[in-house]
Amino acid sequence: MTLLSVENLRVSFPTPSGPVEVVKGLSFDLGRERLGIVGESGSGKSMTGRAILRLIRSPGHQIADKMEFDGIDLQNRSERQMRQLRGARISMVMQDPKFSLNPVMTIGAQIAEALRVHEKLPRRAVRARVLEMLEAVRINDPERVMKLYPHEVSGGMGQRVMIAMMLIPQPDLLIADEPTSALDVSVQAQVLDLIDELVREKGMGLILISHDLNLVARYCDRIMVMNAGRVVETCAADDLHKAQHPYTQGLLAAVPRMEETRDELPVLDRSQWSGT
């Protein structure tokens, strides 16, 4: 069953020397599965995530032959209809909780807002749901945390707050855009395990956007490798080591190993695929 279907997605930004395409004709289908999108910075992977939510800000521009979510044509929806989908059906966890949480709103208020824009609930019920959700993301003492401001909690806790906020309206698809790259290595696994667990439990679809091949291979079913706005390779996570495309092979080779025997890590030789 297809949850999301994208065909020939293009995202472009105008510059003084003409428009520049950062996503150049991307197509993929997603079921209730875990898809990883990998690529270097600037490969267009984050823009893909935002384009699905139709959140490319002006003067940026997005266009696609088809963008369908659960039978709904995303392209023909009005801004108002899109808002009903955002958060409620498709949600996104962003990179750094230091910047992605409102600095002058309490954590409780921010989570409650995510619920309230979609469901009319009495105050008490909202509060109960928020507390429940905070517990679900393993926050001890949620009563206290609700009253804190984002700068008063650690990065790992902030990201768990972010996850709580994005999952509280119970969406069907979660996009996680580099959810751990701003966190300490020690808490990265905790956060990803948490996302993994909640996504499986609720049977949601997940798009995990990351530059880290190993991490994506561990947490996803399928992997899509992007370079310069194009998909260069799609494969099952287990078959990643069998990758065909020279770019993917190059990326794999550049990852340091635990038992390193090479004197120097190889640098990508871009001449093999660029300019084609």
């Binding site: 808002r83 009903q84 958060g87 962003m94 807002e113 906020m165 994005m166």
Partner: protein, 347 residues
């Protein structure tokens, strides 16, 4: 009691910042006194003449020279000057022949009334315009607001006052002319606060109230335009900063409606810096009233200052400079300390 720790810490911090505020304000005020002292006693070639005026007799001149203690060293003169000022003694005005301090308390409320109405107009229009321009960045509305705001930096206040009088008073007859009230309303209500609108309301005399408002409207609106320009420009710039932040995208991802993204999310963090901006422009309006009051024959501190300037009445000039400067500094520093107390991030 670990739960209480943040509260006591918070109190300690704000006590610290208030202590620092008092010290800095006092130092700045001493600096202001040093400048007015310098202007009054050092810059003029003959300070005595500048104090008594050039119509003084030889006896008056000699008496003033001794009274000013000009034979003593400058440092001693400065100390006695500071002492006098702190006792509320600003000397005598040669043009009104009254104590400058008494004169200033009499004229200050008129300026305060005009500046206050001006800032209300400026904030009421400037903030929404700035927010709107930022939300529609690059659109023609934004461009118009931008040029409009720059006009506020380019139009001479006195010129706008004159043109306003010519158009709205002489031409269209929409407002009353110069002065605070029509001549036959003068002195009808007892001056309790010195603020004409408040006094009239207190006395329940609504004829006077409406007439005073009619006189106040145009000069206050012109002052308001200048603060509007500054406030709209700063609001726009602050809002653009916030709208580019990641948390705004978060709010959009959550499905929050655009007006709530703007007012409920992006506007929230700028409320505190806006207080500083509003404080600064309020202080600037007190200063800007000098030019406006001259044009509208408004009997406030600005008019007092310009009359004194033309009569080379140095005590009155320095007294008015000192009062405007002190209010200016106080508002400046107060909005600074408010910033630190109100922003949750600095707690």
């Amino acid at each position: 009691m670990p739960a209480d720790a943040p509260v006591s810490k918070r109190l300690q911090r704000s006590a610290g910042s208030i202590g620092g505020f008092v010290v800095v304000t006092l130092l700045t005020f001493i600096g202001l006194l040093a400048i007015t002292f310098f202007i009054g006693r050092v810059v003029p070639i003959d300070p005595v003449l500048s104090v008594v005026g050039d119509r003084a007799t030889q006896e008056q001149y000699d008496a003033a020279k001794i009274a000013l203690g000009l034979d003593r060293p400058l440092v001693m003169q400065f100390f006695s000057y500071v002492g006098d000022v702190f006792q509320g003694d600003l000397g005598r005005s040669i043009s009104t022949n009254r104590d400058v301090a008494a004169d200033l308390t009499r004229v200050f409320p008129a300026t305060l009334e005009m500046a206050t109405l001006g800032i209300i107009i400026g904030v009421g229009l400037g903030v929404p315009l700035g927010v709107y321009a930022a939300a529609r960045q690059g659109s023609w509305v934004d461009q118009i607001i931008r040029v409009f705001a720059l006009l506020g930096y380019s139009v001479p206040a006195f010129w706008l006052g004159l043109v306003g009088l010519a158009v709205f008073y002489a031409g269209l007859g929409w407002v009353s002319g110069p002065g605070r009230v029509d001549i036959f309303y003068e002195g009808l209500v007892p001056a309790r606060t010195g603020l004409m609108l408040v006094d009239a309301a207190l006395a329940g005399d609504w004829d006077v109230f409406w007439n005073a408002l009619d006189h106040l409207g145009l000069p206050a609106a012109i002052l308001g335009f200048f603060s509007l320009a500054y406030i709209a420009r700063m609001t726009r710039s602050f809002m653009l900063d916030q709208l580019g932040q990641e948390y705004v995208t978060t709010a959009r991802v959550k499905g929050v409606p655009e007006w709530r993204v703007i007012w409920g999310h992006a506007f929230r963090p700028i409320r505190v810096p806006l207080i500083t901006v509003i404080g600064l422009s309020y202080a600037a309006l007190l200063e800007g009233s000098v030019m406006i009051e001259t044009v509208f024959s408004w009997p406030g501190i600005g008019n007092y200052l310009t009359v004194a300037l033309l009569n080379a009445d140095m005590n009155a000039v320095l007294g008015a400079t000192l009062v405007i400067g002190a209010v200016f500094i106080l508002i400046n520093k107060l909005s600074d300390v408010l910033y630190r107390v109100l922003d949750p991030r600095s707690r």
